[in-house]
Assembly symmetry: C2
Homo-oligomer: 108 residues x 2
DNA sequence: TCAAACTATGCAGTATGCTACATACTTGTA
DNA sequence: TACAAGTATGTAGCATACTGCATAGTTTGA
């Protein structure tokens, strides 16, 4: 479990941005109940994983709300693996399509 | 040669957005010199082509300035075909990379 | 001919995604 | 124990990419 400074260093994402993502509901750290002197927030490996996903997804044109949709589905235990993959695939297919069109553009 | 209304209908891009793109330097229509009574701007097929490119490129996460870079290179006659393709490929490869990573994510 | 539709220009406003700043408290270490 | 480094919270500001509105002029069709 890491504090925000370390999380930032590990992912390369600025602290301000991490806080912004957290406020946007993309993930949640947790405070340690046993610590009474502060309300420092700790982040586990799941958050690192989510941040890496966010970085990749943003790079291929996902909006934050699309990313939230995928993450919400992905980390929801109730739904099937196939249903999870489908949420991600839907957008990925659109992108594949566009990439193909862009590549076709090269032969103009 | 079409006026902005028809261009908008043909591409599905709102008139305001087309004007915004034009002002951003992504392309330029031309006024007909022989017409003295107005300054209506006409757009040729090259502009349609550029707008389609913009739509695709935006969908895979290109920013407008990245798009401008590609378009500028693409429609510059002085540079070689290979050089043009390279400008486009640079970003396309980055995206391919990210897509691959995202697909790998599915096996988690 | 006159009203609807279209065009140009300019500027204000909005949504998204950060980024910076101020304030205040906590922790680690020399 | 002092002081740098880290943390939380809140709010303002900024860049990008639109979107809408007001104003004014032009064109087209019944």
């Amino acid at each position: 479990m890491k504090l925000i400074h370390q999380l930032s260093k590990e992912t390369g994402i600025p602290i301000g941005t991490i806080r912004f993502y957290e406020k946007s509901g993309l993930f949640r750290g947790k405070t340690k109940e046993e610590v009474k002197t502060n309300n420092y927030v700790y982040y586990g490996d799941e958050v690192v994983e989510k941040l890496r996903f966010i970085q990749m997804a943003k790079a291929v044109g996902f909006t934050l709300s699309e990313i939230k949709e995928v993450i919400d589905a992905w980390y929801k235990k109730q739904i099937s693996k196939n249903a999870k993959i489908e949420v991600l695939d839907r957008k990925l297919l659109q992108i594949d399509e566009k990439i193909k069109e862009l590549k076709a553009f090269k032969n103009k």
